[in-house]
Symmetry: C2
Subunit: 444 residues, 2 copies
């Protein structure tokens, strides 16, 4: 923990050495645009979900260099650079995709505009936030889609860094998860929480005569009411279910199964519950589930899913691999030519075409201010996020619900093959309309 | 960011509902031992490296529930539980492996002893810290081993959550990395930092007449000296190297290549540098490297490596999948029998046997106080970490160097096949001596 002092230090050293060199040779104030985008989706993924926008905008005003921070930089920075950092705060503009928007390879998820100095300083922070949150939200959306309306709960806090866990709970909620186990995510972001008990609570009720699962269940029901969820697989599932109904009666809220062949167990437990008269007791399953396992349980009497490791680790893609590249200097498009790591110059924005049914067909990335002529219905994806350093969109709890609705409508807008879990191409193609080289066409 | 208030809320809701139920039925004060361990290593790994111990011990005194935290819990917790939390701090004992120790399946990495209430509350925090830090350190150690003495630098901050990045830099340093790009890791933990410039700095030096790489290099050398590292692959590597030596002279510190076929480029660049007289200029390579790519570059004239994504995401194993299980209640060993998720009852500690050469041969996990008779040289791995809630080991910067040395000696102690990068079994077997069931043998 010990996180009370930070802000600007959550960054890479080279951002500051570049700043130092640019201040020295007079290029620090050149008007610059950096673009944050993914060259490709994680292997075989058909879409991604933008997440982190709200956290990034909340972090912006705190990305400062206080005395403690500057004190730790004196060993390698010159006085001019330290003076610049003392007064630093971002005063530029940011445009980009709303949080919860789908994205594809090349989508200009963020476009940061200002002096080179102020824009370059944001690189690491922006990438850390977007790469983490987007990876989690993108995996979570596939799980939500696979669950076909059954609620999902994030139980992954223990499988990731203690602060990443809070951001992961937030990203999962945006993607459509119903709740999280994480209490700080509730306090900070209003994410609904759930959680009842672990195997330890059952094991705790062991005496000289051996285990006493019924005593554990009775204690839990006494404390949390019959609506609670009892964990029935500590010893034997059939005995566990019998003890659960004995402790709570037929009004028991739910039982949780955390191990074994969940397909077989879900059916057995459903039959047993029904036989015991607990026909409305729900079945919660957990234990190393990912989107494929969720889909594999579609035919079973499972009422909700608890998801841990696969959620917080992005289900095989723990980072979104977004990059942050300088694309424009004083109105001149710039791009690098490194092998397989090319960038495309010029400030860009994007729109998405759809059929009249609402199904999307194509994304077009074009130079700012020069949208393509179009006869099909389209929606501009790039919106103003920050002007002169101040956020111009709503943040906080309500913004989370807006983002959550945007993910849901985005998933509804995909062609059917876009929702397939199997490896495939991006659900829609992206067309890039390149920037014209000056001086032929630089009217903006 | 906004991380100023947390502490106890970095946890799962069910820890608190279990506490509530246990307080109500009188079991909360039963003397309990929880064990933190991994049932198995990540797929094909031959060893793991314990990391997070120092961070966990530093977090312990901060894991409290202040007014703000308790205020967010009133909607689901009863007054007795809230009163318990108001006064809570961990006052129990912790034993475990020193940070930097190798571990294998079943190694009792942490053993937490106290009342059920105080031990269960630590579950999520302990797992978050150990699962993250251990995953990074375990991957990092394989990279260090593959690099055979050439320095490695962590450049992965941008590929993971902004706070996880700080912990990852610390874990990588423990595992033997030479430095990190992360400035907060330097301020907080004293991790050495490195970093010079990105492609953006070269692209910034673009004018109406086009790119001017030489101007960018000259500016960087003016600011940072000829010992700096110039990034030569923005446009064309051969031209980049020529510009680099033109800007800095033959005393140039290093060039960095971040794209393309690094094997071919490293050789070409080495020849070109030598031809230009820059025979002592080092070659730094980066760009999607992992332990296999590092090993694949062993024969090339590469002087150091920059590692990003694969480091901070655990190179395919982003979490160590450790669990935290109740193993003893009031002196009675307890264990669950869930399919493929068994635990083994009883308080345990461990020792490692070795040949007289120092090569380890076996790990033995045994009931506390009952070590096996042994004729081979052995070292007890379990040490006291916390007594009555207070850390009894050194923390902070110096402790990091001790852990780093422990990793290095651990890697030297492995049999040769233990250092192979290919998939395989754990380098040494672990033998578990089970706890005797009471009352036959419960002398402790």
């Amino acid at each position: 923990m010990n996180d009370s002092v930070y802000g600007g230090l959550l960054t890479d050293k080279y951002e500051l050495t570049m700043l130092s060199a640019a201040l020295r040779d007079g290029t620090a104030n050149r008007t610059s645009t950096f673009e944050l985008f993914a060259r490709r989706l994680p292997d075989g993924r058909r879409y991604g979900v933008v997440a982190g926008t709200g956290r990034f905008l909340e972090a912006l005003p705190e990305f400062r260099f206080d005395d403690v921070a500057r004190g730790s930089l004196t060993e390698f920075l010159d006085p001019d650079t330290l003076a610049y950092l003392r007064d630093f705060r971002f005063r530029g503009d940011v445009d980009g995709y709303a949080e919860g928007e789908l994205y594809f390879p090349g989508s200009p998820v963020l476009s940061v505009h200002g002096s080179f100095a102020e824009c370059v300083l944001l690189e690491t922070l922006a990438l850390s936030i977007f790469n983490h949150d987007t990876a989690v939200a993108s995996a979570a959306a596939r799980m939500v889609s696979a669950a076909e309306g059954r609620p999902l709960m994030d139980m992954g806090s223990r499988r990731t860094h203690e602060h990443a866990a809070v951001a992961a709970a937030r990203a999962a909620y945006i993607a459509g998860f119903a709740a999280s186990s994480n209490l700080e995510a509730h306090r900070r972001y209003g994410v609904p929480t759930e959680g009842t008990s672990a195997h330890a609570f059952t094991l705790l009720h062991t005496g000289p005569d051996g285990p006493d699962e019924l005593a554990a269940f009775t204690a839990q029901v006494d404390a949390l009411g019959v609506g609670t969820t009892l964990l029935v697989d500590t010893y034997d599932v059939t005995t566990g279910v019998a003890n659960a109904v004995a402790a709570a009666g037929t009004g028991l809220g739910a039982v949780r199964i955390d191990s074994g062949d969940l397909r077989v167990l879900a059916r057995q437990v459903r039959e047993q519950l029904d036989r015991l008269g607990a026909t409305r007791t729900r079945i919660v399953v957990s234990g190393d589930l990912d989107e494929y396992a969720i889909a594999g349980l579609r035919a079973e009497p499972v009422d909700s899913y608890g998801i841990g490791t696969s959620l917080v680790t992005g289900s095989g893609a723990p980072t979104a691999n977004m990059v942050y590249k300088l694309v424009d200097v004083d109105g001149i498009p710039v791009e690098k030519r490194s092998a397989r790591k090319e960038s495309h110059g010029g400030r860009k924005e994007a729109l998405r075409l759809s059929r009249t049914t609402g199904t999307v067909t194509k994304e077009i990335v074009y130079p700012v201010g020069h949208p393509p002529p179009s006869v099909e219905p389209s929606r501009v994806l790039s919106i103003p996020l920050v002007r002169r350093g101040e956020s111009v969109i709503a943040l906080g709890t309500e913004a989370l619900d807006v983002a959550r609705e945007l993910v849901a409508s985005g998933l509804r807008s995909l062609p059917w093959e876009g929702l397939m879990l199997s490896h495939g191409d991006p659900a829609i193609p992206t067309t890039l309309i390149p920037a014209s080289r000056p001086p032929s066409d630089t009217q903006e």
